[in-house]
Symmetry: C2
Subunit: 204 residues, 2 copies
DNA sequence: CGTACTTTTGAATCGCATCAAATCTGGTGG
DNA sequence: CCACCAGATTTGATGCGATTCAAAAGTACG
C-alpha cells in the first residue's frame, strides 16, 4: 500500500465528524493485497472509495466463501466492538481505501449524537442490504439470482463489472462456469446485454 | 392479539432506557396472525419474547421467500428510519411480543448516548448474524447448511425446534422434503439426534 | 514473449426441486 | 369420546440444473 493524501471521499466526509476526517489515512492498495485477516485485532475501519474488496471465510472443507463483495462503502462496520476480525479482506482490484482509527470512531460516537444517528442509519442500510442478499441466495436458479442482483444493485438496470464476472459469481454463490453460461443465455434471449465493462438489463 | 401486562423481557429491559419501558405494550399473538405487512407505515418496533415469527417477501413468481425467522429478539430494527416496511411479518407459533413506539425510540436515541451505544451494539450483532446467514446460504448442500446452522445458532450443538422442521427448511432455503431426508440421513450416520423438540449434534 | 488469470465450451454426474401420495399429529366440533 | 380436518411428516419417482472436471482460447501485464 502506498500512503497518499488525496481528498476524502464525499460520502465518508459526510458520515464522519469534522475532527475525525483529519485522522483518516487514504492509501492505494494493489490487487492481491490483504486488508486484514481473521483473528487480527481491529484497529482501523476501512472505507472503499474505488476498486474491489472481498470479505471471505474459509469453510471447514477449506474453500473460500464470499461473505461480501464491496466496490464502494464501509467494510468491517461490525468490528466496532469486536476483539477480532471474523473474516479475511482481500483486495482483488487496485483500490483506493481510507482507514479510520476505530478508537476515534468509538469516542466520537459516545460524544456526538448526530454522528451516532448517521452511524445508525449506515448500519440500517447495511442490514437491509444483507437481507436482500439473503433473499437472493434463497433463489435456486442462477438466472433468478442474477436478475435479482441487477434489480437491487444496479442503477437503471446497468451494473459495472470492474473485475469480471468471476468475482460476481462468488457473491451470487454459484460457480463461474454457471454464471458465464447464464449471462450468455440471457444475451441470446435479448434480456441482457454486455457492453464494455457493464451488464445492462434490457426489458422491464 | 390480546393485550396484557406481563413483565418486560429482561433482554429488552436492558436495551431500553427506563422511561421507554413504560411505553411498551406486550401482547399475545396466535399462530397465523400478521404482525405487519409490506408497504405499511412502521409505528411500532417489535420484540419477540417467545414463539416464532417469519419475515417474508414474495418473489416475482409469487412464492414466499423467508428473509428471517425469529424466535427471540427484535424484528424490524431497520425500519427505524424507513417510511415503509419492506416485508411481511407472520406469526407462525403462539408468541409473546412487545411493541415499542418507534418515535419514542428515535427520540431516546437522539438524547441518550448510552442507549445509542447499546442500539449500535444490537445492530452490529444483527449484521454479523446476517453475514453468517449469507455464508450458510452460499453452501450448496443441504447437509452443509444444516450443520453450519447448528454450529452457529445452536447452544452446545443443541437447537430447539418450536414449530417443526418445516419452518427451518424455509430459513435454510431448501424444501422441507430435502431437509427431512437430510435429518434422517444424519441420524442414520449417528451425527445427529432428534430428541423431543430438539436437534442435537453428537460428534465434534 | 511468457506467465497468470479470465473467459469459454464440453461432457458426465449428482443433488435437489418437483410432483405425488400415504401416514401421522394436534386440535375441533359433534 | 370419537370423527374429522388441516397441517406436518415421510417416502418414492422423475427431471432439471448446477457442480465438477477438463481443456482450449483469449487477455493483461511485466
Amino acid at each position: 500500500m502506498a500512503a497518499s493524501f488525496t481528498q476524502l471521499h464525499q460520502e465518508l466526509a459526510e458520515l464522519l465528524p469534522a475532527d475525525l476526517r483529519a485522522a483518516c489515512v487514504t492509501s492505494r492498495y494493489a490487487k492481491g493485497e490483504q486488508l486484514f485477516s481473521a483473528g487480527q485485532k481491529p484497529t482501523y475501519m476501512f472505507f472503499i472509495s474505488s476498486g474491489e474488496v472481498l470479505l471471505e471465510r474459509l469453510s471447514r472443507q477449506g474453500e473460500a466463501i464470499v461473505l461480501q463483495r464491496t466496490r464502494h462503502g464501509i467494510v468491517s462496520e461490525a468490528s466496532l466492538q469486536s476483539a477480532r476480525y471474523h473474516c479475511d479482506a482481500k483486495v482483488i482490484a487496485s483500490s483506493e481505501i481510507t482507514g479510520v482509527p476505530i478508537h476515534r470512531i468509538a469516542a466520537a460516537l459516545a460524544s456526538d449524537p448526530a454522528f451516532s444517528s448517521r452511524w445508525i442509519g449506515m448500519l440500517n442500510r447495511e442490514v437491509k442490504r444483507l437481507r436482500l442478499q439473503c433473499e437472493r441466495l434463497s433463489l435456486h436458479k442462477v438466472q433468478d439470482r442474477l436478475l435479482h442482483f441487477l434489480e437491487t444493485e444496479g442503477q437503471q438496470g446497468k451494473y459495472p463489472l470492474s473485475s469480471g464476472l468471476k468475482s460476481l459469481a462468488g457473491e451470487l454463490g454459484v460457480t463461474h462456469e454457471a454464471l458465464y453460461r447464464c449471462v450468455s443465455d440471457l444475451e441470446k434471449k435479448g434480456i441482457l446485454r454486455r457492453g464494455d465493462g457493464y451488464l445492462i438489463t434490457l426489458s422491464r
